[in-house]
Symmetry: C2
Subunit: 339 residues, 2 copies
Amino acid sequence: MRRPSQRDIARRANVSQTAVSLVLNGKAAEHSISATTEARIRQAMAELSYVPDAAARSLRGGRSDLIGVHTFEPVFPVGPDDYFHEFLVGIEERAVELGRDLVLFASTQRPDGRRSIYGNGSNRLRLADGTVVIGLDRDDDELRRLSAEQYPFVVLGRRDSLPGVASVGVDYVSGVTRVVGMLAAAGHREIAYLRGVKHETPQRDRRTAYTDALSALGASPRWYDIARLGRDHGPARWRADGATAVLVEAAEDAAAVQARADAVGVMLPAQLSVVCLDGVSDPAATHWSQLRIPKRAVGARTLSVLADILDGRLPADHQELHPCEERVVPTTISAPLGD
Amino acid sequence: MRRPSQRDIARRANVSQTAVSLVLNGKAAEHSISATTEARIRQAMAELSYVPDAAARSLRGGRSDLIGVHTFEPVFPVGPDDYFHEFLVGIEERAVELGRDLVLFASTQRPDGRRSIYGNGSNRLRLADGTVVIGLDRDDDELRRLSAEQYPFVVLGRRDSLPGVASVGVDYVSGVTRVVGMLAAAGHREIAYLRGVKHETPQRDRRTAYTDALSALGASPRWYDIARLGRDHGPARWRADGATAVLVEAAEDAAAVQARADAVGVMLPAQLSVVCLDGVSDPAATHWSQLRIPKRAVGARTLSVLADILDGRLPADHQELHPCEERVVPTTISAPLGD
DNA sequence: CCGCCTTCCTGTTTCGTATTAGCCACCCGG
DNA sequence: CCGGGTGGCTAATACGAAACAGGAAGGCGG
């Protein structure tokens, strides 16, 4: 028992396969199919519970309606608190809106665990109409080759360094600059930076932005490391060093600082203002401010850009940058207080 | 610039399209294609970075090397603590091992937000050789229809109710039964159950298992709800009711119970033994035991079963059930203590 | 009564791939 | 020198849907 095709519908309704196709695609009127014939065809479709074959459709249309998602690491990270998770939420959301399916290129993973577009023989990406490329550990040589092959793709991530390659990125620099400016405006003179456990591209970008923002203010950076946070290193010590504000990289880092501050009797934010550069905690419930990265929107936008490139509405080397949003709760940034 | 087809390869290598197809599918020897010709063909494929068209392949009846993942809800949940996340980790892991790519069927989402295999006009699943079907809110009618059409798929989830449909599930019943048995063996007579915020299939299954396990012991269930946990309802009250052990549904529920217990001075586990039925917390660091669901392994196994069905190594209606693992830290279950 | 315009369809081709049947040149035994 | 095998390939076809070109029947003006 094979599933019904348009031919089966056609036979049952005494029409040609073409007529069935026309009715199916709402072009009945345009091609002047009579109302009665259309009704007969529709009834036949209903009776056989016909469903068009997706494979045949995309074969004919020249596009598969598949959008690739190439990640240089596994898409589903072992820990669900992954940096990329929210981008993917946005990507899926927009894929739904665009009516396209997503292909996760798992087959590109090599024995060493990294994924490589060309590493495994053929370029599987060609399977999809176009691809979103994500990943911390991304390989720019492969991207250049992909670009040379004229394959349509968009990089989600840092903006720089690849002319001719489409990308959608996040403008950390102006975000961090604005946060630093706010702190400075509130009177802070020593703004420190607490490095987290990760040292990948997103973190490097923020650190660079911090350095730049400070030097624009004529101040110099003051670095701390989360790994050393403990009895001897922490809010009290920072205050002793002169710092009255600190930028942290993750919500759990901010929580750790809060915990240490509570332990040593440093008041947040009165004695120490904390701004978290990437976190999802509820700002109303915490004693720190955040720089929110609109990951979901950026993910969605990346997919839209790819779709626009595929449809010729945008050039293949379109690049854009999205601003961060400050979720600054006023009460969590205070003027620095002497001891 | 169209993506290259076998015809393009054929022209470049001065052979017929047939030859290209044969080489591609490893039937060169079988059809006595000479080694030099095969080499020429392979080189042409590499030069043009040819990739077979999935749509054409599945139309023709060959295989696209794509494995579908159909979820009745978004794959990337807004909250990262999703029930399905770890299953997907396992699925991706095994896909890597099998060298197959995954298609996430986002296009099947209808305006109302739910996803439907047949709801949106065409059955996209056919693009893939076979599909793993996951989802809380799964539609059994669609699965029956899919099965009638002989499309290969495997349901990841509850075992029951769909004869003829392949599935890989988790044996909650025996897991919960064993946990209840352990508590009973430790001397507990009143084993309560704290219902969490969700009331989907996985929760329902565990609750049924709890009821069954208790009635097997001749005891009757005692229900509490996390929503009411607070000043008046909590560990102290439960003890007053006579309960000395409680099953909770999620790690955060266990943490909440711990917090309330601390607040009212109930000692865990001495005065109240807690077993968490689904959580990822580190058992060594907490005062409760857990019933661990081997989600990753189950996810991976589901994909293997599908691959085996596709290759004819397993029948299309293969069903299997995986046991839970107890991660019972002995010290977290204690004999009940009077007040 | 002829030509033309609608109305309402149908025939044929195309997409890229896998398969089936079969072609042609060469070698070998008789 | 001819028949039969075999190595090395190719031509033709089918899959299901969609696009394009076109065509038969009927009405209507001249």
